[in-house]
């Protein structure tokens, strides 16, 4: 399927990452947004509020983030594509409903324009401190997808992708932006609608009596109906059977949770996305994501100018994590350097996958600005000492 041309502002724009995210959502077919505006994500909902009347969308400024994150799920079961938009403090409030979306397999998008925390922290300054929260923030075992853009152009492209992934796999998808990317203004090229691929959820249209809301085939992804179509459905956060009815048995729990995990795991090779540059033959690989992938570039160039063999692997999709590729690389390189705008989060994933096969060096930063390239350069050089 292609995008509905009504929502697509084809052309070259000079806009910030927040606005590009809004345009990506509209192009992807999002027609319901609920949010409680918070810096530095406010511009996303401002643009949505301005644009939605022209594309038939509904934006509601809710009383808080808890309400926002559940309103979107109601809209999805009513047949819409929906998202909510926030930053750290609001993201914390949304955790309960991220779990609900995972449990009820409600396709929706959560945009988190990260600022420095904890708590209200530095409202107007960047960080990447919510990366583990995106993966593990709600209780219990579940899987989600998290995407990290590094430019306004990617805020457009990857928001479209976020909706597509959420519709295909029926999971909440997190767009993990940051203040720098959100407020940075650059050229954003929006293609014509027929060049924008749009995926929609699988829809059940068989006989009413044989419908099982959470029955799946080998792909482990159930088909959806929407409220009002006349099907009997029961959607609950309680452990449920294939009909959706609560089932308080150990076997139902085992079966359901296993499937919620496996439906992402078996498709991980299709979901994982990273970009590599000069990784083959490198002694050091810098693993970065989001804005940090851009601050790493001058450091990598300076290291190469000193004769070091440095490759760059940028995570575009951070969750699910590209375990296979990092394991493989760890067996080939001397060291992996992980700069991130937090005190060390994704570095633990890298260490887990490297499993002692190479040196792993963290380049932490508490947030508030971006890394200075010289700090990343120093870590690259340090990582080779003693190997």
């Amino acid at each position: 399927m292609h995008a509905d041309p009504i929502g697509v502002l084809t052309g070259a724009h000079f806009i910030d990452g927040d606005h590009a995210c809004s345009e990506g959502a509209i192009a992807a077919g999002c027609r319901f947004v609920a949010g409680y505006p918070i810096t530095p994500s406010t511009e996303v909902v401002e643009r949505i509020a301005e644009r939605f009347p022209f594309v038939g969308g509904v934006f509601i400024q809710m009383e808080d983030e808890i309400a926002s994150s559940i309103a979107i799920q109601g809209a999805v079961w009513g047949g819409k594509k929906a998202m909510t938009v926030t930053s750290g403090p609001g993201f914390s409030l949304m955790m309960e409903h991220i779990g609900l979306a995972a449990m009820t397999e409600t396709p929706c998008v959560f945009v988190d324009v990260q600022r420095a925390g904890p708590s209200t922290g530095l409202p107007t300054m960047p960080a990447q401190g919510d990366m583990m929260q995106a993966r593990w923030g709600s209780h219990g075992d579940y899987q989600i997808i998290a995407i990290v853009p590094n430019s306004p152009q990617e805020c457009f492209d990857l928001t479209v992708h976020a909706f597509n992934l959420s519709e295909r796999y029926r999971v909440p998808v997190m767009m993990m932006m940051d203040e720098c990317v959100g407020h940075m203004i650059e050229r954003v090229v929006i293609p014509s609608a027929d060049k924008i691929e749009v995926h929609n959820r699988k829809v059940y249209d068989g006989p009413k009596e044989s419908y099982r809301a959470f029955e799946t085939g080998r792909d482990l992804i159930p088909s959806m109906v929407k409220a009002g179509d006349g099907y009997r459905i029961h959607v609950t956060g309680l452990t449920h059977d294939e009909k959706g009815y609560p089932d308080m048995s150990v076997s139902a729990q085992g079966k359901l949770v296993q499937r919620l995990m496996d439906k992402i795991r078996i498709h991980a090779d299709d979901i994982v996305m990273y970009k590599e540059e000069d990784v083959e033959g490198a002694d050091v690989v810098v693993v970065s994501f989001g804005i940090t992938s851009r601050t790493a570039i001058p450091a990598i160039e300076q290291a190469r100018a000193k004769g070091l063999k440095v490759g760059h692997l940028r995570l575009v999709v951070v969750w699910p994590f590209p375990e296979k590729r990092i394991r493989e690389l760890a067996g080939k390189v001397k060291s992996i350097v992980v700069p991130e705008l937090n005190m060390g989060q994704i570095v633990y994933e890298v260490e887990r996958c490297a499993a002692g096969k190479c040196n792993v060096v963290s380049v932490p930063h508490a947030g508030g600005t971006v890394h200075q390239p010289k700090d990343i350069l120093a870590a690259i050089e340090k990582s080779l000492r003693g190997t």
Partner: protein, 189 residues
């Protein structure tokens, strides 16, 4: 063209952010260059110090913040005191003549000034001082071409004010060209 770092400073309400935006839009949309703009984001309100940071380059821009600006456009005394120490050696400084007294200016700085507020007032709207400054900067640097800047002005100002803004741009541009004729050795970014 290598990486150019530009800082535009003034007080809130002068159109500082808009002039940076138009310059970036001219470069990245109409001149096929790369541009990254970062706004100094804080509790800026009308009358307080504010700035726009812009990078313009022929190459993709990786590091998004400016480190040592080589072009500065300043429209207030506060911005002058606060920002000029950051100016790169040999950098270009463009100031609003009546709003900025350039005391203790470093010898390596290439300085030009324009009475942009007076020019804007003569055109009937003091508000367009930022566009006068933009025309001035376009003439005195190689950041963007005249046509690209004019195209970007056209699509960035409120509908119905295009002619006024074009006039402001041209006044600033012409003033800049005249200064260049007098001091061609000071040329260019």
């Amino acid at each position: 063209m290598p990486r150019n770092e530009i800082k535009i400073g003034g007080f809130g309400g002068q159109g500082v952010i808009l002039s940076g935006y138009i310059l970036g839009r001219a470069a990245s949309i109409y001149d096929s260059k790369y541009a990254t703009m970062i706004q100094a984001f804080g509790p800026e309100a009308r009358g307080s110090a504010c700035s726009a940071q812009l990078i313009i380059s022929d190459e993709p821009i990786s590091y998004p913040y400016i480190v040592a600006p080589n072009v500065m456009v300043l429209m207030s005394q506060e911005a002058y005191s606060k920002f000029t120490p950051e100016l790169a050696p040999g950098g270009i400084l463009l100031t609003e003549e009546d709003l900025v007294v350039t005391h203790n200016l470093r010898a390596d700085v290439r300085h030009f000034s324009i009475p942009a507020t007076r020019i804007a007032e003569e055109l009937g709207k003091r508000l367009v001082l930022n566009i006068v400054m933009l025309g001035f900067a376009t003439a005195l640097t190689n950041l963007v071409g005249r046509d690209a800047a004019r195209n970007a002005v056209k699509v960035s100002v409120p509908k119905g004010t295009e002619e006024l803004n074009f006039a402001a741009f041209e006044k600033g541009y012409e003033y800049g060209l005249q200064l260049l004729k007098k001091e061609p050795e000071k040329i260019l970014a």
